[in-house]
């Protein structure tokens, strides 16, 4: 008994000892204010983070930024939520904007920054996705990207193809590509998230056909299965599969293989989001300039435009206080400045335009990014559904894999996704579900 009591006591002491260590003063030995920055552990992302920290520290010699990383995807989401709920969050952290941002309860957990001078420089669509209850909470991390289709430019030139503006044109191009002996459309179902692009990037076409769709969808008044424009995304998957336009190894191919295939001309098209440009520069470094980009074609050529994904945000939790809060705010502001954008662009090839008005794209951007910017500059763009509505069903990637593999047909897939959406809405406690 005495022994177990001693062990227990020792355990308690160890635990309390741990936390006592981190209660230290707000400046370290060299008089610098130390802050911690938490971001995801994707190698390209870490490279950007390191470059940004170096540039920031060079301009703010009294601040010491320590980089901390977390897993990507839902595992990382849960870690962020847990650390926020337990009051153990890093001083500054990077996290999604839009629907996932709303799920971390910004009003209770984050420091609002609406009064900061840099907020006026933010792109309005980005400002909207880091705002909750009329308060702005974040500055942008990296770029706005566009969802659509990467295509192989040399193949297009060789076969005399034109960038398609309607789905019918696109299918005609696919037929010619198939006749030329290449896979018309690349799919990579070994990494399931890649399967969603044909549905999600079609949203510009959905909102072109039905401008109020996002609101009706949020209020349980519009469904994917019963809205023809929204159902089209699922039908595209089914149609391409039935026509035999996928690459033969679509079920086991991976994201990087897909990028390499479209870059080297093994495949004509790859539906993807332009952040893929960064990965092409490692997957097929010699072919970055062979990849072009066009928006997902819809039914009406006149309304052709691109679906945009907003950058994730840089946020400060309410637990950051005093000198650390000042330092954290400086770091957050730096990312919304021209210097911050330049530091980000210096680390990896950028995947799209910046969400800050004072930032300019470097001249040497990849052709796919130039193609994307053309749409944005022409105003032919709308944000993806997940930035207009808090609801995105979590099982979409499995459903699109099923439709794209011929396991389930398009109407059944859309119906199943509506069920998934309903579950998400109920979990969020939205009205009318």
């Amino acid at each position: 008994m005495r022994l177990s009591a001693a062990v227990l006591l020792a355990g308690v002491l160890t635990v309390s000892g741990c936390s006592a260590g981190s209660l230290g003063s707000s400046s370290d030995a060299n008089g610098k204010t130390p802050i911690t920055f938490l971001t995801n552990n994707d190698p390209a992302n870490v490279k950007v983070a390191e470059a940004v920290i170096a540039a920031f520290e060079a301009r703010n010699t009294d601040i010491d930024v320590k980089l901390d990383t977390r897993p990507q995807g839902s595992e990382g989401d849960n870690l962020v939520k847990t650390r926020l709920a337990t009051g153990d969050m890093a001083d500054v952290f990077e996290y999604n904007s839009g629907s996932l941002f709303q799920a971390i309860a910004p009003q209770t957990n984050l420091t609002p920054v609406s009064g900061e001078s840099w907020v006026g420089d933010l792109d309005p669509t980005f400002k909207q996705v880091v705002t909750a209850n009329n308060e702005v909470y974040g500055s942008p991390w990296q770029n706005i990207t566009g969802g659509g289709i990467f295509y192989n430019k040399p193949l297009y030139a060789k076969l005399g193809l034109q960038v398609p503006k309607t789905w019918a044109d696109f299918m005609a191009n696919n037929a010619k590509l198939k006749a030329a002996g290449v896979a018309p459309v690349e799919q990579t179902y070994s990494e399931t998230w890649t399967s969603q692009v044909l549905v999600l990037a079609d949203f510009h076409n959905v909102s072109a056909a039905d401008p109020g769709f996002a609101d009706k969808y949020t209020n349980n008044q519009a469904k994917f299965a019963t809205t023809p424009a929204a159902l089209a995304g699922f039908q595209h998957l089914e149609e391409l599969k039935k026509a035999g336009y996928w690459n033969s190894d679509y079920a086991s191919a991976k994201y990087n293989e897909g990028l390499a295939a479209v870059a080297t001309g093994k495949a004509g098209h790859y539906p993807m989001i332009t952040f893929g440009v960064t990965a092409i520069s490692t997957a097929a470094p010699d072919n970055v300039n062979d990849v072009g980009f066009f928006a997902l074609p819809g039914t009406d050529a006149a309304k052709n435009g691109v679906t945009l994904w907003e950058p994730s945000g840089i946020y400060i939790p309410k637990t950051t206080k005093d000198a650390k809060l000042g330092a954290a705010k400086k770091f957050q502001a730096f990312l919304a400045s021209a210097d911050g954008c330049a530091a980000e662009a210096s680390a990896t090839p950028v995947g799209g335009p910046f969400a800050v008005k004072t930032c300019k794209l470097p001249d040497n951007v990849a052709p796919a990014v130039k193609d994307l910017s053309a749409y944005v500059d022409a105003g032919q763009a709308s944000p993806a559904l997940e930035f207009l509505s808090p609801i995105k069903g979590p099982a979409l990637e499995q459903i699109t894999v099923e439709v794209g593999s011929g396991i389930r047909n398009a109407p059944a897939g859309a119906k199943l996704y509506d069920e998934d959406v309903k579950k998400q809405a109920q979990q969020l406690g939205l009205q009318g579900w």
Binding site: G73, S74, D77, A85, T192, A251, S252
Partner: protein
């Protein structure tokens, strides 16, 4: 196995005269340290899990919603198939482990060359990390670049896309599970077979019984406790299987190899904590409903 047979054996064998109870039995407060650990780490979390399965909680707040999570869970389209897949998976792995484990044990207790070495080889996969096994087989089972299909190509067979073909995915994972887990079944069977007194085999041989008859009439019935242990262990293991399936297919393609545990995990990933907890309670009840009757059935036969 030992726990199934020992108590009764000890009770009947222990014929020494009863001693003074107050002197021998421990005071009740000896139970406190163990009881506290049990309560804090097992009892309280279990009760809390039942409570949380009745709420919608987000780590930041919670709301009591009664049985809605269960209703939702049983309406979940992927669940019906998940439940079915779980049963298929458990029965296939359990059945194969019993048959193959028994066959290997008979082989490895027989007079074969390098017996000790062969025994270690059979047990080796049990020692390897399941995630490691899953990732390795994911590479080996790649439809075009995998060693498995390349080997089949050499003999003129076109192998299926093991993990990417919806009709094969679940079965492929089950086969890898059997490969990894059969070593444990073999060891349990070997212990069972080796504990059968040699005289029985000798007597059977004197009576002119052949190898099959000796197996059928001596080994099989006398290794029964081992069979029960293997069935129960591998059935429970199969029902709860998660790590291997997650490492190999993540429940895919689509939902075709989703089992209860992976459905539960996906709900948790999506942030549906209450729903995910409800799924865990359902899995818990499923295991109990299947295993307890089986356990009683076997024990009744035994005594």
């Amino acid at each position: 196995m030992a726990t199934l047979t020992e108590p009764s054996a000890v009770a009947t064998r222990d014929s020494s005269p009863p001693r003074d109870r107050r002197k021998t039995s421990y005071p009740y407060w000896f139970l406190i340290p163990g009881g506290v650990i049990f309560a804090v780490f097992f009892l309280v979390p279990s009760v809390m899990a039942f409570w949380f399965s009745l709420t919608r909680w987000t780590l930041f707040d919670q709301e009591f919603i009664g049985l809605d999570n269960y209703v939702q869970f049983f309406r979940e389209p992927a669940l019906a198939s998940g439940l079915w897949h779980t049963l298929i998976y458990a029965v296939v792995t359990c059945g194969l482990k019993v048959v193959l484990g028994m066959a290997l044990a008979v082989l490895l207790t027989g007079p074969i060359l390098g017996r000790g070495f062969m025994r270690s080889v059979a047990f080796f996969p049990v020692l390897v990390s399941t995630i490691g096994v899953g990732l390795t087989f994911q590479v080996l089972m790649h439809p075009t670049r995998g060693v498995l299909n390349q080997a089949l190509d050499l003999v003129g067979i076109t192998g299926p896309a093991w993990l990417a073909d919806p009709s094969w995915a679940l079965l492929s994972v089950a086969l890898v599970d059997v490969w990894q887990g059969v070593g444990l079944a073999t060891v349990i069977y070997m212990a069972g077979i080796l504990s059968i007194p040699g005289e029985y085999f000798e007597a059977a041989r004197m009576d002119g019984a052949g190898a099959w008859q000796r197996f059928r009439n001596v080994t099989l019935p006398l290794a029964r406790p081992a069979t029960i242990s293997v069935i129960l262990l591998s059935l429970i293991g199969g029902l709860r299987k998660f790590d291997l399936i997650w490492a190999m297919t993540k429940g895919g393609p689509g939902f075709t190899s989703d089992v209860m545990a992976s459905v539960v995990y996906k709900q948790y990933q999506a942030g549906f904590y209450g729903l995910s907890t409800a799924g865990n309670v359902v899995l818990f009840l499923l295991v109990i409903l299947l295993v307890l009757p089986l356990f009683w059935f076997f024990n009744r036969k035994e005594s």
